[in-house]
């Protein structure tokens, strides 16, 4: 009996964690390989800093996509939507606002310099309005697609496949086949700017203090309910480990080059909020439950249509954020903006352990998946590998990742 219990427990522990361990291990392996293959260039602060910046756009999308896939749906339109929003943002800045705002607010044309950005008051206003409109467009697209899926009952695959074509058409229509420039410095700053070294250290301190407070608060709560708690050294070493990761990132990667990258900071904030929502709120709990068994969830009194609707609205909002960052990143609106992003996003989720059958997947996993993809792309570019190889390797890694998942699940017959 005792033995049975032990073997059951360890089997459970391994099957839950094997995919996450495998993922981290794969990441380390990839980094080690590129470190050797590029004679250390890959691991230089400047390169890693760029790598993290490159992963942000797909990561924003992957955060939303995890929820979409967990509820048993899919969103094929995100690439086109990001391109569409980016084109709108660029058009607003380059054409609409630059033409009308100075006329409407002639008192605001004066120059100003904040955070090291040279701009005008009108430029700041233009960027502010652009951000608001881009987010609203993203939400609106989410509302339309979400309503079609949740309330009209059209399969998500079809709705978003249609959306993929429609919004790609929108991109071409807005840009008229040309690259839309110029973009305000202040918008570019969002995607390309850096926090100062001092700012980075302040952020690091806040995060580390927060980690310790959360872990200790959690212990206190558990104690008050009389639950078993980990020995204090174990909790402290977990907190210490994460603190070291934060320090490594801030001191080596970020401050070792030019500071914390703005989009990475933004990503971290968004990721923490969405992770929290997915695991610590009713809405998040319902998403996983209905992905696991729609019927049982409905009969438990959950409004599943509303939940699915909200998931797509959030996906739209995140597409809006990704669109803004993309515009700043390329400092233009382009016809190819967001092309094939949906595939990279889905790949990041799947590599990160999200099950396409629904009900399973973590945002943190998808972020690691996104980091793996970005590492592959970056590393192969640094190695000067041909672009065709990059596609082939990414495809193979995707299949391999899912195979590891399948193989590790097959082991779980022990539990039965």
């Amino acid at each position: 009996m005792f033995l049975k219990d032990i073997s059951k427990r360890s089997a459970r522990y391994i099957s839950v964690n094997i995919r996450y361990l495998a993922m981290i291990f794969a990441l380390i392996l990839i980094w080690a390989f590129f470190a050797v293959a590029t004679q250390g260039i890959f691991l230089k602060a400047q390169n890693l800093s760029n790598l993290f910046r490159q992963m942000t756009i797909i990561s924003f999308l992957a955060i939303g996509m995890v929820l979409v896939i967990v509820t048993g749906n899919i969103d094929l339109s995100v690439g086109s939507v990001v391109g569409f929003i980016s084109a709108i943002a660029a058009y607003l800045q380059a054409v609409t606002f630059s033409k009308y705002l100075p006329k409407m607010f002639p008192m605001l044309v004066g120059h100003v310099s904040i955070l090291g950005i040279e701009t005008t008051y009108v430029g700041l206003l233009s960027t502010g309005l652009t951000i608001v409109i881009a987010l609203l467009v993203g939400i609106l697209i989410g509302v339309i697609q979400g309503a079609s899926i949740a309330y009209l009952g059209i399969p998500a695959f079809v709705v978003t496949l249609g959306g993929m074509l429609i919004f790609r058409g929108g991109v071409l229509g807005i840009t008229q086949g040309k690259t839309v420039v110029p973009i305000e410095n202040s918008l570019v700053y969002i995607a390309q700017g850096y926090l100062s070294n001092l700012g980075g250290i302040i952020v690091a301190c806040i995060v580390i203090i927060a980690i310790f407070i959360i872990i200790l608060w959690n212990r206190k709560q558990k104690k008050s309910y009389g639950f078993d708690i980990n020995p204090i050294y174990k909790d402290l070493s977990i907190a210490g480990f994460f603190s070291l990761l934060v320090l490594f990132y801030v001191l080596y990667i970020a401050n070792g080059y030019r500071g914390i990258q703005n989009p990475v900071l933004l990503l971290a904030i968004v990721a923490i909020i969405f992770s929290y929502v997915s695991t610590n709120t009713r809405f998040g709990r319902y998403c996983y439950a209905l992905g696991g068994n729609k019927e049982a969830t409905k009969l438990s009194g959950v409004n599943i249509r509303w939940n699915i609707f909200i998931v797509f609205v959030l996906m739209g909002l995140l597409s809006g954020i990704a669109g803004i960052v993309l515009t700043g990143y390329v400092a233009a609106g382009t016809i190819g903006g967001g092309l094939n992003y949906e595939l990279s996003t889905i790949a990041a989720c799947v590599i990160g352990g999200t099950s396409l059958m629904g009900g399973e997947g973590r945002i943190s996993g998808a972020l690691v998946g996104s980091l793996i993809i970005a590492s592959l792309e970056n590393g192969m570019s640094v190695m000067n590998m041909d672009i065709f190889w990059q596609y082939i390797v990414k495809g193979l890694v995707l299949i391999l990742a899912v195979y590891i998942d399948v193989a590790s699940n097959r082991k779980s017959w022990i539990e039965k």
Binding site: K222, T281, R282, N293, E295, A296, L299, E415
Partner: protein, 518 residues
């Protein structure tokens, strides 16, 4: 060398890491007999069947199996079929979009140079169906057949493979009374033709109707093999549970109080067929602390009736639902829950549980609001409350974070019931609460129902098993093709009486012979 026994298992032992599923199991099946195999869930029946059918190949278990005088060494499922062992599984394994013939010959289609010889396929099918008197059209699409006929297709499929031993795993769990009778007839017929059957079931009555010999398994061991004519239900149950159970139903003296729910002239149309009434002018009431049993044959509208009360069935609904004296409209499960009506659905795996999630998450799913604000779930409070409730009804688990998948059927059902114990429950509807769970667990569910009734909960129980209906209910509502044909008191009810109402032979509304407490 042949003998009177077709199949002999000798000292068969099967171990999983840390668990011994079968230990030294020995029993013999006579040629041409129907051999009943019973035991609680987890007694080792399915493991035994998996060994016979080659799911666990030779070498993964110890001991020997002899079939027709020679040792049986299955290397695969295919191997077992070749040697004449065929299993009709509990869950039907047919392709609903294909015809009867296509299903029977799936994977063994007669071919001419790589193209399927359809004429031969259908001719063979027709021959088999005729030979065993199976009344099914061989060209029909399987999805157009009822569950009972689908099962006949499965049996025909097994017979077409020249099965020497036919294993039926819980064949009646989804059948109506008449379908069960047809099945029994077919089995007797097969017996005459010399087919040997191993019959696995939870319904003991069936053993006494059809089997020649009964082998009882308990905790992976054979308790005894007895001649059916030399034993009775009480003895078999005692062997299964290892103790003498004087009564399958716990006694309770209930004192129902005020009427809590009243249903008047409820009529519901079939959402798939807007001209057909699925529920036809049904009226009844139930009081606090009362157990109302709903009986009726499959398709009589039992489940539809209770699912309508829970707000999840029907689009065109007329009639009144009155709770606590207030006329209410229930349009969704959420509405029903607000009024304190909760449902334990018919199929716990498909409708009751998110199997891939933990026990904890399942328990809290309908109750999260108690532990959370919009922006936060108090996970500690959640764990605390769920632990309390699971202990109070003694769900057996090693951790609440285990997947519900890992629990036995009885414990899974307890989880589905426990989901509602945390929330406001005035009326608890249980649809087939003990389907597919073993005798011991059934007893515990019954005890739990009595406790709830004692605490003033009104319980509506839908069940296909007449002994359960008679053993547990205070009053019994009987349905026949959508309408309520009778509401009778437990004291006056007998199995025969209920069946006459259920088959529409008797109807209180037109002969005035009704006992109605409204």
């Amino acid at each position: 060398m042949s003998s009177e026994y077709i199949l002999k298992m000798d000292q068969v032992t099967k171990e999983f890491p840390g668990v011994r599923a079968l230990s030294n199991v020995s029993f013999k099946v006579k040629k041409g007999e129907i051999h009943g195999l019973c035991g609680e869930n987890g007694a080792g029946k399915s493991t035994l069947m998996k060994i016979l059918s080659g799911v666990y190949p030779h070498g993964e278990y110890q001991g020997t199996i002899t079939m027709d005088g020679s040792e049986l060494k299955n290397n695969s499922i295919h191997d077992a079929i070749d040697k004449g062992i065929a299993i009709v599984y509990q869950e039907l394994a047919l392709v609903p979009q294909m015809s009867v013939g296509e299903n029977i010959y799936l994977g063994r289609e007669p071919q001419n140079l790589g193209s399927i010889n359809w004429n031969r396929l259908y001719a063979n099918t027709s021959d088999i169906l005729k030979k065993y008197n199976l009344d099914i059209p061989f060209y029909a699409k399987v999805s157009s057949l009822g569950v009972g006929k689908q099962q006949m297709v499965e049996i025909a499929k097994a017979l077409s493979e020249d099965a020497k031993v036919l294993i039926l795993d819980e064949p009646t769990s989804a059948l109506t009374e008449t379908e069960v009778e047809t099945l029994m007839m077919i089995l007797r017929n097969l017996k005459k033709k010399g087919v040997t059957c191993i019959y696995i079931s939870h319904k003991l009555e069936e053993f006494f109707e059809i089997t020649d010999t009964i082998t009882v398994l308990r905790d992976g061991m054979v308790v005894d093999t007895v001649k059916t004519t030399n034993t009775n239900t009480e003895q078999v149950i005692a062997m299964m549970v290892g103790r003498k159970m004087t009564d399958r139903f716990p006694k309770a003296a209930r004192k129902p109080k005020n009427t809590i729910l009243e249903v008047k002239n409820l009529t519901v149309y079939d959402p798939d067929n807007p001209f057909k009434k699925k529920i036809d002018n049904v009226s009844f009431s139930i009081r606090e602390g009362e157990i109302l049993g709903i009986s009726g044959l499959m398709g009589s509208g039992r489940s539809e009736l209770v699912t309508t009360l829970f707000g999840e069935y029907g689009t065109k609904i007329s009639g009144d639902i009155i709770i606590d004296g207030k006329n209410v409209k229930i349009k969704s499960a959420r509405d029903a829950m607000r009024y304190g009506i909760n449902l334990v659905p018919e199929d716990r795996k498909k409708m009751g549980l998110v199997l891939m999630q933990s026990i904890l998450k399942n328990l809290s799913l309908p109750n999260i609001k108690q532990f959370s604000s919009i922006f936060h779930i108090d996970k500690h409070k959640e764990l605390h409350e769920c632990e309390k409730i699971s202990k109070s009804i003694s769900i057996k688990y090693s951790s609440l974070h285990d997947k519900t998948d890992s629990l036995s059927g009885g414990n899974q059902q307890k989880v589905v019931i426990a989901k509602w114990l945390l929330s406001l429950t005035k009326v608890l509807i249980l649809d087939e609460p003990t389907r597919g769970i073993d005798v011991g667990a059934k007893y515990e569910i019954y005890k739990l129902m009595n406790e709830l009734a004692d605490n003033g909960v009104a319980i509506i129980m839908v069940s296909s098993e007449l002994p359960e209906i008679l053993g547990m209910s205070d009053r019994i509502l009987i349905m026949c093709s959508g309408s309520c044909t009778g509401i009778i008191d437990r004291k006056e009810a007998t199995q025969e009486e209920i069946m006459t109402y259920a088959t529409g032979m008797k109807n209180y509304s037109n002969n005035g012979n009704h006992v109605n407490n409204i």
